[in-house]
């Protein structure tokens, strides 16, 4: 074996440092920009302008494209995450806020809050495939890890709409607690978790029967119930733990995703909104809308390690390796 090959082997054999830096892209609603933060170090690398009122943000499955919903320009812009150059624009319909990227790489599905519909867009042509009318003020949107299941929540109708991938039409509706803000499928796509902002609950639904399995309540010592407003949800791949952003209570709830017991409440910045795992799921980052920062949580230690100022009104977050 020659010497370079030997060193290569050693490098490969070395375990990856859990703290290897990954880049969090944070949409800044008021600054009209996206901030880049090294995670877990918490170093703000810089910002780049994206357009008026950026909110929802996501990466393509190959991490080569960064999608940003630029709400006041009625478009979803596509950027190169490395060069920050604009690669294209998607006609998303009016006031796009939240969207998901199809793990199969075929579609992008956006909620159009003002039009009471969701829009399915072809990711190759950036053209609209179909608009699906849903309830009033659609907000949460989720697609299962295999891309087979799609769900949308309507804030005012208080419903989850189950959408068939083949026909791209609603096959069923389920009533949930008031103001369902966000939803997320478990990795095994057996459950859909729905956060209800006004009720302060998370409803866990069975994806086959579309019926409720359980409802999770939150109680934080010293915090009034009206401040507990669940929004963003993240569930780890092993379905061991789920994390729910609890808005103005400034806490992230840590939940046992098998027993549905709330294990802990982690103090983060003010009005915690959205959450994102690092690709290795070793860390979780939160956007804190009122304190203008993001918090970084070490999930093994179950501890908030840093809060980093990023700019005005951080909204969405996506993390690239």
């Amino acid at each position: 074996m020659n010497v370079p090959a030997f060193f290569m082997l050693i490098l490969i054999a070395l375990p990856q440092r859990p703290g290897m830096a990954e880049t969090a892209f944070v949409s800044l609603e008021k600054d009209q920009a996206v901030a880049m933060v090294e995670v877990p170090e918490g170093t703000l690398e810089g910002t780049f302008k994206v357009g008026k009122r950026p909110r929802g943000i996501a990466l393509s499955p190959d991490h080569q494209s960064l999608f940003v919903a630029v709400s006041d320009e009625d478009t979803i812009k596509v950027f190169d995450p490395k060069s920050h150059q604009l690669k294209g624009q998607i006609a998303s319909g009016k006031d796009p806020e939240t969207f998901v990227v199809d793990p199969r790489g075929q579609w992008l599905i956006a909620s159009n809050e003002n039009d009471n519909q969701i829009t399915v867009i072809d990711l190759k042509t950036f053209k609209k495939v179909k608009s699906i009318p849903v309830g009033i003020e659609p907000e949460g949107i989720a697609i299962s890890a295999d891309g087979a299941l799609i769900a949308s929540t309507s804030e005012t109708t208080n419903m989850v709409h189950w959408i068939d991938r083949e026909s791209l039409s609603i096959v069923d509706n389920t009533l949930v607690d008031p103001r369902p803000r966000a939803c997320a499928f478990t990795e095994d796509h057996q459950e859909l978790w729905v956060s209800s902002e006004m009720a302060g609950t998370v409803t866990v639904l069975d994806t086959i029967t579309h019926q409720m399995i359980t409802k999770i309540h939150f109680k934080i010592p010293g915090i009034t119930m009206e401040k507990i407003q669940p929004v963003g949800i993240q569930i780890d791949r092993q379905r061991q733990r789920a994390y729910v952003a609890l808005g103005p209570s400034n806490r992230v709830a840590v939940i046992d995703a098998k027993t549905y017991q709330v294990l802990d409440y982690l103090l983060v910045g003010q009005r915690v909104w959205q959450l994102a795992f690092t690709p290795n799921q070793r860390f979780l980052s939160t956007t804190n809308g009122l304190s203008n920062d993001i918090s970084i949580i070490d999930l093994q230690q179950r501890k908030v390690t840093k809060s980093v100022a990023v700019g005005q009104y951080p909204w969405g977050i996506a993390i690239a390796p």
Binding site: G222, N250, L267, V268, S295, T305, S307
Partner: protein, 264 residues
Amino acid sequence: MVMHAWRALMGIMGREGLRFIHQRERFISALVRPLLWLFIFAAGFRSTLGVAIIPPYETYVLYEVYITPGLLGMVQLFNGMQSSLSMVYDREMGSMKTLLVSPLPRSFLLTSKLLAGAMISVIQATVFLLIAAAYGIEIPAIGFLTVLPALILSGLMLGALGLMLSSFIKQLENFAGVMNFVIFPMFFLSSALYPLWRIQESNPTLAFLASYNPFTAAVELIRFALYGHFNLNAALITFFSLLFFLGMAIWGYNPSQGMMNRRA
């Protein structure tokens, strides 16, 4: 001479240690006071004053986490005053004469007394810290080690302050008044209970005064040390305050120049 000085130092420290062991009520009350603040006061203010990011913290902390270093300072502040109260008591009872007739320099005897008081102060603060940690206040493991030099320096400074005050007090009764006029303003006009930027928001003059309060320096020194950091500014203020207070105490206890002759 060195052996004699050593024996005297050990004697003074031993006496203070014995007094500490025998006065259990004093030890318990020294602990109960900050624990009440931690368990009740901090719990009440949890949601209103609950968050702040200031160095050495890197993220948001609960109010009880924020005030823990301030309460450590509180333990030492009260101990410094009580140790000096015992000086006034000793002087009134006449037992101080036994100490002061020693051929050793008075400055040495006072410094020994200060060291003895600081030793007790560090023990009390450490016990409080362990109870706070058991209560759930998260402190990095290294913090228990790095806080010790900070506690020693702050304990000495606050002890020296008490020593200085005791040199100017004629009678035991007067000391209680001084405690009220010194302890409470020092404690409340510091960063022990609220960060300086919060005071700045409501009253810049008070914030200015608080930033030059030696007790603020002691608290910040402890706060940084608890998280393995060193606050040079706070350390310098604490150190020079110690020199000043000790110098004044030695001057105050000098029969030819200080207040002692005026009392005679």
